[in-house]
C-alpha cells in the first residue's frame, strides 16, 4: 500500500501529468474567482479535452482544476462579498466584514491557509478512509440520510441571532428557504408546484442566481449608499497585505477548529447528495460555537476570523472526501463527482473495487493531485495577495459596474435564461430587505439547500420502510445527536452567562 502511495506521487510528478495539472489549476484558479462559473460546469466543459489523454494525465488535469476552485472562490467572497462559488457563500459573512474593516489581507490569508489545510485533510481522509469507509457509506440508507439532513437543519438555531426573537427569525427564514425549495416539479407525483406556468421553474429555483443575488446585490447597494471603497474608513496608504501572515497564523492559532471543520466537511463530503452547500454552513455554525464569551459570539458576522477559517477548511476538505464514494463504490457524492465519474468511463476505468486493487496507485495519484495543486495555488495566491487586496481601495463608483456585470453574467450562466436574471434581481431585493430588517440570510439559504433533500429522503424512507424507518438504530443515534446539536447553543449561552456572572 505504501508503495502505491509513493507510486501515486511519481505519477503526478511525471512531466506530462504535471503540465496538465498546471493547466487544469490555472483554469480552476479563474473559474473559482469568477462568480457563477461553477467547478462542475467547467469539468463538463473540459471533458472533450481528455479523449486523447491517458488516465495518468487526465485525472491531474481534471482534479487539478476541480480541487482549487473552492480555494480561489473564497477570494471573491472575501474581497467583494460575491460568492465565487455557490459553496463559498458562508465565507462572505465574516470575510467581507473583515475586508470592510481593512483586514482583507488577514481574511485572505486565513481563507487560503484554511483551504489548504482542509484540502490536505480531505485528501488524506480519502487515502485513509477507502478501506474503512465502505461499510459506513453502504450502511447509510435514505432514513439515515434524512436524519443527517435534519442534523444540518439544527444548525439554523446556531446561525440565527441571539435571544428568543433572533431564534424565531432564524427559524422563520429557514422555513421560508425551505418553502422556496419546494418550487418545481414534485418528484413523487410529478405535479408542478408554484411554477405559475413557467417552464423555467419546473426544475425549481436555481441555486446560483439565488445565492449571487441574495448575497451580492445588498453589498452593492450598501457600497453605493456609503459612496466609498470596500475598505471604507481605512487609510489608503495602509498595506492591506500586511495582515496576510496574521491570517496564516490564525489558521494555526485556531488549528483544532480548522481540523474539526475539515472533518465536518469530509464527513459531509462522503455522504452522497449533501455537498459543499451544506458543509460550509454546518462548519460555520460550528465555528460560531467556538465562541467562549457572549461578546465573542456577537462578534461573528462582524469580522471574526474563525468565521472565515471554518467554511474555508470545510469547502476544500469535502472535495477529497467526495472522491471516496465516487472512486470506491461508483456512487457520486455530488454533481461535480458525477461528471468526474463520466471521465472514468471515458478513460475505460470502472470505479469500484478495482480502484483499490488494480489501480491503487492511480487512486493515490488523485490524493497527491489535490494536495499539490492546492499548495501551488495557495502559494501563488499568497504572493499576489497584496495586489488583490488593493482592489478593495478602488472607489466604489468604479467597482460597482464591474461587480454588477459579474453578478448578472454569473447568475445568467446557471441556465442561460432570462429567468436567471429575474431570479438575481428578485433575490437581490429580498436579500436587501432581509438585511435591512434583520432577517438572517444564512438560515434561509440552509433551508433552501436542505429542503429538497429532506423531502426526497423522507419520501423514499416512507415508501421503502413505512413507519419502521423511525426505529432503525442508526436513525435513533443520529436523531439524539441532532437534538444535542440543537440544544447546544442554548446550553452554551447559559454557561457563558453563568461564567460571566461568576467573573
Amino acid at each position: 500500500m505504501f508503495e502505491s502511495f509513493i507510486e501515486g506521487l511519481f505519477l503526478v510528478l511525471q512531466w506530462k501529468s504535471f503540465s496538465y495539472m498546471l493547466i487544469g489549476m490555472t483554469i480552476g484558479f479563474w473559474v473559482g474567482i469568477l462568480p457563477g462559473l461553477g467547478g462542475g460546469a467547467t469539468l463538463a466543459l473540459m471533458m472533450p479535452f481528455i479523449y486523447k489523454m491517458t488516465p495518468q494525465e487526465a485525472f491531474p488535469f481534471l482534479l487539478g482544476m476541480h480541487s482549487v476552485v473552492q480555494t480561489t472562490g473564497d477570494i471573491t467572497s472575501v474581497l467583494f462579498g460575491i460568492p465565487g462559488e455557490a459553496t463559498t457563500v458562508a465565507t462572505i459573512i465574516d470575510g467581507y466584514a473583515m475586508t470592510k474593516k481593512g483586514e482583507a489581507g488577514r481574511a485572505l490569508g486565513a481563507a487560503l491557509m484554511s483551504s489548504l489545510v482542509g484540502a490536505i485533510i480531505g485528501a488524506f481522509f480519502l487515502a485513509l478512509a477507502i478501506p474503512i469507509v465502505r461499510p459506513l457509506v453502504l450502511a447509510f440508507g435514505s432514513p439515515e440520510m434524512l436524519m443527517i439532513t435534519l442534523l444540518g437543519m439544527t444548525c439554523i438555531a446556531t446561525l440565527s441571532g441571539q435571544g428568543k426573537r433572533g431564534l424565531l427569525l432564524g427559524l422563520m427564514t429557514g422555513g421560508l428557504g425551505f418553502l422556496l425549495s419546494l418550487v418545481g416539479q414534485d418528484r413523487q407525483a410529478g405535479i408542478l408546484r408554484f411554477t405559475f406556468g413557467q417552464l423555467y421553474l419546473w426544475n425549481g429555483i436555481p441555486m446560483v442566481p439565488l445565492v449571487v443575488g441574495l448575497f451580492a446585490l445588498p453589498e452593492i447597494v450598501d457600497m453605493a449608499v456609503s459612496g466609498t471603497s470596500i475598505s471604507r474608513n481605512v487609510d489608503p496608504n495602509m498595506k492591506l497585505g500586511r495582515g496576510v501572515w496574521q491570517g496564516v497564523k490564525d489558521t494555526f492559532t485556531h488549528f483544532w477548529l480548522t481540523v474539526r471543520c475539515s472533518l465536518v466537511g469530509s464527513f459531509i463530503g462522503i455522504m452522497p447528495g449533501l455537498g459543499g452547500g451544506v458543509a460550509q454552513w454546518v462548519s460555520y455554525a460550528h465555528a460560531t460555537q467556538s465562541a467562549k464569551t457572549q461578546e465573542e459570539r456577537e462578534g461573528f458576522g462582524k469580522g471574526d476570523v474563525r468565521g472565515v477559517l471554518g467554511p474555508g477548511a470545510a469547502n476544500n476538505s469535502k472535495e477529497g472526501a467526495g472522491l471516496i464514494p465516487t472512486v470506491a463504490f461508483g456512487i457520486p457524492a455530488g454533481s461535480g463527482m458525477a461528471i468526474l465519474m463520466g471521465a472514468f468511463f471515458m478513460l475505460g476505468i470502472v470505479p469500484g473495487p478495482d480502484m483499490l486493487t488494480k489501480h491503487l496507485s492511480l487512486t493515490f495519484s488523485m490524493v497527491w493531485t489535490i494536495c499539490i495543486s492546492n499548495i501551488i495555488v495557495v502559494a501563488v495566491s499568497l504572493l499576489f495577495i497584496n495586489h488583490l487586496a488593493r482592489l478593495t481601495f478602488i472607489r466604489g463608483n468604479l467597482l460597482i459596474p464591474f461587480i454588477l456585470m459579474l453578478v448578472f453574467i454569473g447568475g445568467y450562466t446557471a441556465n442561460n435564461s432570462i429567468g436567471d436574471l429575474i431570479v438575481v434581481v428578485g433575490a437581490g431585493l429580498l436579500g436587501y430587505l432581509m438585511v435591512r430588517f434583520g432577517w438572517p440570510r444564512p438560515p434561509f439559504i440552509l433551508g433552501f439547500i436542505l429542503g429538497d433533500l429532506v423531502e426526497t429522503y423522507l419520501y423514499i424512507s416512507v415508501t421503502r420502510y413505512g413507519t419502521d424507518w423511525i426505529y432503525r438504530p442508526k436513525v435513533i443515534v443520529i436523531f439524539i445527536l441532532a437534538v444535542c446539536v440543537a440544544l447546544y447553543p442554548f446550553l452554551q449561552k447559559k454557561n457563558l452567562l453563568n461564567q460571566e456572572v461568576q467573573v
Binding site: A189, A224, F437
Partner: protein, 166 residues
C-alpha cells in the same frame, strides 16, 4: 401600534405562506404534505413576528442579539441614504431592462458609459477605457472562449421581425 417596513415585511410573509397553504390544500396528499406541514408553522411564526413588530416595544441592548449576517452601513442622513438606495436599485433594474432590450453584448458598454459618466461623474476618458476593458473581458471570456449562448434581445427580435436581420 407602529407601521414600519418590518411590519410590512412580516405581513408579506404571512400573505405568502397563506397562499402556499391554500394552494397546497388542493393538491394530492403526497404533493401537498410538505408545503402544508411547513407553511403552517412559518405562517404562525410570521404572525408572531408581525404582532411583535406592530405592538412590541423596541428593547435597547436586550431581548435579541444581532443576526449572524452582514449589516448595512449606518448613516445619520436618512433621507440621503433612502435617495441613494432607490437610485442604485433603479440603476440595477435599468441594466436588467437594458439587457432585455439590447442584449448583454451591447448593454455592457452602454451601461458602463452611462453609469460612470452620468452617475459617478467620471471623466469621458476613464469611462470609455473602463467600458472597453469590461466589454473585452466579457467578449473574450464568455463569447469567444466559453461560447456561452446568449438570448436574443428584444431589439434583435424586432429587427428580425421586420426583416432587417435574418
Amino acid at each position: 401600534m407602529k407601521f414600519s417596513g418590518k411590519v410590512f415585511m412580516s405581513l408579506g410573509l404571512m400573505v405568502f405562506t397563506a397562499y402556499v397553504i391554500i394552494t397546497a390544500l388542493k393538491w394530492p396528499f403526497k404533493t401537498g404534505l410538505f408545503p402544508i406541514a411547513l407553511g403552517i408553522p412559518v405562517f404562525c411564526m410570521a404572525t408572531a413576528v408581525f404582532l411583535m413588530d406592530l405592538f412590541g416595544k423596541e428593547k435597547k441592548g436586550g431581548g435579541s442579539g444581532p443576526a449572524v449576517d452582514f449589516k448595512l452601513s449606518e448613516s445619520d442622513d436618512k433621507e440621503l441614504t433612502h435617495k441613494r438606495t432607490v437610485d442604485i436599485f433603479l440603476w440595477i433594474l435599468g441594466w436588467f431592462l437594458l439587457i432585455l432590450l439590447i442584449g448583454f453584448s451591447l448593454s455592457i458598454p452602454v451601461y458602463f458609459i452611462a453609469f460612470l459618466r452620468f452617475r459617478s461623474k467620471e471623466s469621458w476618458k476613464l469611462s470609455l477605457i473602463l467600458s472597453v476593458i469590461a466589454w473585452a473581458f466579457f467578449y473574450g471570456l464568455f463569447v469567444r472562449l466559453l461560447d456561452t449562448p446568449f438570448m436574443p434581445s428584444l431589439m434583435q427580435r424586432g429587427l428580425e421581425y421586420i426583416g432587417i436581420l435574418s
